[in-house]
């Protein structure tokens, strides 16, 4: 090939790269054969301890669920796995139809009109929702629950900083954990609030009835609800209680934990705001012969057309994870999904009840109802130390709700607990026994 181009060597292909910017070598070592690579990676991965080795009570937005084998089998089909963004609809009807089905499912779950074809994760979806609010309402303050996970607050701050948007925290009742709606009412009346976000379940695991009354408090100010898709199989669709935008984290529907990535950002809005929506959208249409067909649509919102005036910079999204989402929901089916949520809620209730009364623990920390996860408070010691001691007894007991960036440790030590789908009655008993011991400072308790 070089000869056909009349070039003496590979070097001639790079004649346009000045000597001053050449590198001699990168310094990354020689290549390895496939068995060598597999051995190397397996050796490293052996230093991980997968959740299956423990009694697992880790949750938050990222859920430990059983993945039906069919999900991975079908998303692994190379026609899906190795395709690009479906810019040429005629060559990509399969992915486009699957994404249309995905959008339809999030519309049904959210109770809104239009869903996009995915964003990066639940936190960035909340960030994009905040920016969407700013496009449909004036103001410079966005209200979020003080109980929102610190990671999401940090992401929201980063999505707002460019436009000078401020994120303010809605206080909660220290006993019930419920949103302070009077505070919200007061702040909204100041006229500078352009959007309010509430999460279901919230950062403490609570399903707070005040969320149902939030829209009537804030009136024309847009309401964003960040909801867990599994919870939406049993709870009212947020569109029915006034949400203007519904976002969520979709990993629990079909994606492995994979140390927290890839995840799936879900987003839906009202029809009148569709032109302000970020991300890709698949629409149904016809081909020249009147045959049903699908295509990306309203691309004039997007960066490759609108550039600096686009509704978002997003290009690559999470299409394959969106496919996994609709596959998971369809293979489990609506009845068993609702049953799964009810089972998880039962387990969480059983654990909270069994832990209640142990000295040094306040369980649950708040009195508002919860579903499959709850928060407890440690009277003494710190959450990380407690979790380490629980680990030593074979229990992934939850995660600390403290912001690890804080320089000075202060404030209550809260632990978020979410029984995994795999956790059974024996695991719950084990948790309770381990917690009694982990809370007693002793020779084992100094970790």
């Amino acid at each position: 090939m070089l000869r056909s181009l009349g070039l003496p060597s590979f070097d001639a292909l790079f004649d346009d790269i000045p000597k001053g910017v050449r590198v001699a070598r990168m310094g990354i070592g020689p290549g390895r054969t496939e068995p060598e690579v597999v051995a190397d990676v397996d050796k490293i991965l052996a230093r991980n301890k997968p959740v299956s080795r423990f009694s697992n009570f880790l949750g938050g937005r990222i859920s430990s669920r059983y993945l039906p084998a069919i999900v991975d089998a079908l998303i692994s089909r190379s026609e899906f796995l190795t395709s690009y963004t479906p810019y040429q609809p005629e060559a990509s009807q399969g992915m486009l139809q699957a994404l249309f089905e995905f959008q339809s499912l999030w519309v049904e779950l959210s109770g809104l009109d239009v869903a996009n074809a995915s964003l990066y994760d639940g936190a960035t979806a909340a960030g994009e929702a905040m920016l969407l609010c700013r496009r449909i309402h004036l103001g410079d303050r966005f209200l979020v629950p003080a109980s929102l996970p610190w990671e999401e607050k940090s992401v929201l701050g980063n999505y707002g900083v460019g436009l000078g948007l401020k994120v303010a925290e809605i206080p909660f009742d220290p006993s019930t954990g419920r949103l302070d709606l009077e505070w919200v009412d007061r702040e909204v009346r100041r006229g500078d609030v352009f959007g309010v976000l509430a999460d279901v379940p919230n950062g403490f695991g609570l399903v707070d009835e005040r969320v149902l009354d939030l829209k009537s408090t804030i009136g024309t100010v847009p309401l964003v609800v960040s909801a867990d898709p599994l919870a939406l199989t049993v709870l009212q669709p947020p569109g029915e209680y006034g949400a203007d935008i519904v976002v969520g984290e979709g990993q629990g529907f079909g994606m492995a934990l994979s140390f927290g990535g890839p995840l799936l950002g879900l987003m839906a809005c009202r029809r009148e705001h569709v032109r302000f929506l970020p991300g890709r959208l698949v629409g149904a249409t016809q081909d020249v012969n009147g045959r049903r067909a699908y295509t990306l649509t309203l691309q004039t919102r997007e960066q490759h057309i609108r550039r600096s005036r686009a509704t978002s910079n997003i290009c690559t999204n999470q299409s394959l994870v969106a496919l996994a989402f609709v596959l998971y929901a369809s293979s489990v089916g609506p009845t068993r999904l609702a049953r799964l949520q009810a089972d998880l809620a039962e387990k969480a209730r059983a654990l909270a009840t069994a832990l209640d009364g142990i000295e040094g623990l306040k369980v649950p920390r708040f009195t508002a109802p919860f579903l499959g996860e709850f928060t407890m408070e440690l009277a003494q010691g710190n959450a990380v130390g407690f979790l380490d001691r629980m680990l030593a007894k074979g229990v992934l007991a939850g995660h600390s709700l403290s912001d690890p960036r804080r320089a000075v440790k202060s404030g209550p030590e809260l632990v978020h607990v979410a029984p995994s789908q795999a956790a059974n009655t024996a695991d719950i008993r084990k948790y309770v026994k381990a917690a009694r011991e982990a809370l007693v400072p002793g020779p084992m308790g100094s970790a």
Binding site: F14, V21, R22, V23, M26, I28, V41, L45, A46, R47, V51, S78, E79, F80, S83, Y84, T85, Y87, Q88, P89, Q93, G94, Q97, F100, E108, V114, A117, Y120, D121, L131, S154, V155, G157, L212, V234, L235, F259, G260, P262, G283, T285, Q286, V288, R291, A293, T295, T297, H304, R306, N313, C315, T316, L320, L323, G333, A338, P369, V384, H399, P404
Partner: protein, 501 residues
């Protein structure tokens, strides 16, 4: 041999097994302790399907989709290369897949080590000081980088002054979009002969400039040979130089962003490092930074203390978090496997082969359509289809006609500085045979009658899709289809192509 794609009349899921009409007899399911007003009045409206029904449905859909394993995929600036199977296998190991990001550090030493090692490797490839794997995609990395630039100038007390981002007119659309989201105004610098016009850059740059964003090689497939002068100009003005790494596949082992003087860079691991694109994602957008900007990288950083890896949050200058977790770990692992397999010489050879493929193809296709910039190209090149307009044929028609040959179309109408542009990239994983086959397909396509070109494609699951109607009628979900009560599709016909065994 004529190509034919499978053509299934595959209805959407809800037509396979229409869900029962919703009933409103109280809550769908009772939850002790949860007040009734919280509960759904009706069960979720979604079909109950059997596993074989689902398997057949999505297998049929997959047969109506091009992927890198069905055909070459020469989308310019997208670097559609083959995705090695060993990466897929390893990413599914329980030690990789079944690990929760909130597990105690002592139980995730393996994941932390992969991240740590990959960050170090990418720092070497880019010639930058530190790399973070947190961004989910290229544009996400761009955004994070611009927030870092913002924070840097804020610390210098110059944020009020440095409000503008400059970029060439060949820039990817994500660049100006990310800059706008980060609160900067943007100004495009016109190109000269496909490259940055240094004179125009010098004229435009000022004490108001925060950053100049550049892709090198650029989207015209050209190496910006003035890069040293560009870097000097940008730095003399006190601004930062940003590297869009979408096109890194052309220069590994030859040059690097750090060596060229860039202060910050994003890489698309789903391009250069062969992680699958998944029909549009997930990707992974590694973010590299030099001395001045490294302290601003997102937290946590993965650090090592003797033999223990840990998550370091004590980075007072960090911009904080830009997503949940630590990045798309599943993709990071695949990229790690790719780099480990190739090594120093392998990666350098990837770039040599990609550039050779591109020059070979540019030379051969240049016989059919003019190349606006008639010099040495890097990993991709641009043709102009403008002359076809005389015959009433647009670049889009040519793209659709190429699909009929069983090959994916190139990127079309970008970069916009070339009229009726086609942007073609054949990465190193495509053999000479594939290249020659593409030339033959291109030959047949461009010499077809104008009418055939305008009527293409004929051999795919659908004919030319009515995108105008899609935007006008906006049917975006099942709910919209229900509202429109569209008539059911025509009765199922047998597929014109039997599925592969």
């Amino acid at each position: 041999m004529t190509f034919r794609q499978a053509r299934w009349d595959e209805p959407p899921l809800w037509e396979l097994a229409p869900p029962k009409a919703a009933t409103t007899n109280g809550p769908a399911i009772a939850l002790p302790g949860v007040p009734d007003r919280w509960l759904r009045k009706t069960a979720l409206r979604w079909p109950e399907l059997s596993e074989p029904e689902i398997a057949r449905h999505y297998t049929r859909l997959s047969q109506m989709n091009f992927g890198i394993e069905t055909s070459a995929y020469p989308l310019g600036s997208c670097t559609m290369k083959y995705n090695p199977k060993v990466s897929e296998m390893l990413a599914r190991r329980p030690g990789a897949a079944d690990v929760h990001p909130y597990q105690p550090e002592s139980t995730v030493q393996g994941s932390l080590e992969i991240i740590y090692r990959l960050e170090k490797l990418l720092a070497k490839v880019t010639g930058l000081r530190e790399v973070s794997l947190q961004p989910a995609a290229g544009a996400h990395g761009e955004y994070a980088a611009l927030l870092m630039v913002r924070a840097y100038f804020q610390d210098q007390g110059k944020l009020g002054q440095r409000t503008e981002v400059l970029l060439p007119d060949t820039a990817h659309g994500t660049n100006p979009a990310s800059a706008a989201m980060a609160g900067f105004t943007t100004r495009e610098i016109p190109s000269k002969n496909g490259c940055v016009d240094l004179g125009m850059l010098k004229e435009a740059i000022s004490e108001r400039t925060a950053c100049f964003m550049l892709t090198n090689p650029n989207t015209a497939g050209l190496f910006e040979s003035d890069i040293m002068s560009i870097a000097r100009t940008v730095h003399d003005a006190g601004a930062m130089l940003y590297y869009d790494g979408a096109n890194l596949n052309a220069i590994m082992g030859v040059s690097s962003p750090g060596r060229m003087g860039f202060d910050v860079a994003h890489l698309n691991l789903h391009k250069t490092f062969a992680t699958p694109h998944g029909g549009g994602g997930p990707g992974a957008g590694a973010l590299g930074a030099g001395e001045e900007l490294a302290p601003y990288l997102p937290v946590p950083r993965v650090a090592k203390d003797k033999r223990r890896y840990y998550l370091d949050y004590q980075r007072p200058k960090s911009i904080g978090k830009i997503k949940t977790g630590y990045g798309n770990f599943g993709l990071d692992l695949r990229a790690y496997v790719y780099i480990l397999s190739h090594g120093e010489e392998g990666l350098a050879h990837v770039s040599r082969r990609a550039v050779l493929n591109s020059n070979y193809l540019a030379d051969r296709l240049g016989k059919f359509l003019p190349r606006p910039f008639g010099k040495l190209v890097k990993h991709e090149f641009v043709l102009s289809g403008a002359r076809l307009k005389k015959e009433g044929v647009r670049t889009l028609d040519l793209a659709k006609r190429l699909l009929d040959e069983g090959v994916h179309a190139p990127t079309v109408y970008f970069p916009s500085l070339v009229e009726e542009s086609l942007m073609i990239e054949f990465p190193e994983t495509e053999s000479r045979r594939e290249l020659d086959a593409f030339v033959e397909a291109f030959d047949r396509a461009i010499h077809d009658t104008p009418q055939h070109l305008r009527e293409a494609p004929k051999n795919l699951s659908v004919g030319r899709v009515d995108e105008v109607r899609a935007a006008r009628e906006l049917q975006l979900s099942w709910k919209d289809l229900r509202a429109a009560a569209v008539p059911p599709p025509p009765a199922a016909r047998p597929a014109t192509t039997p599925p592969p065994p």
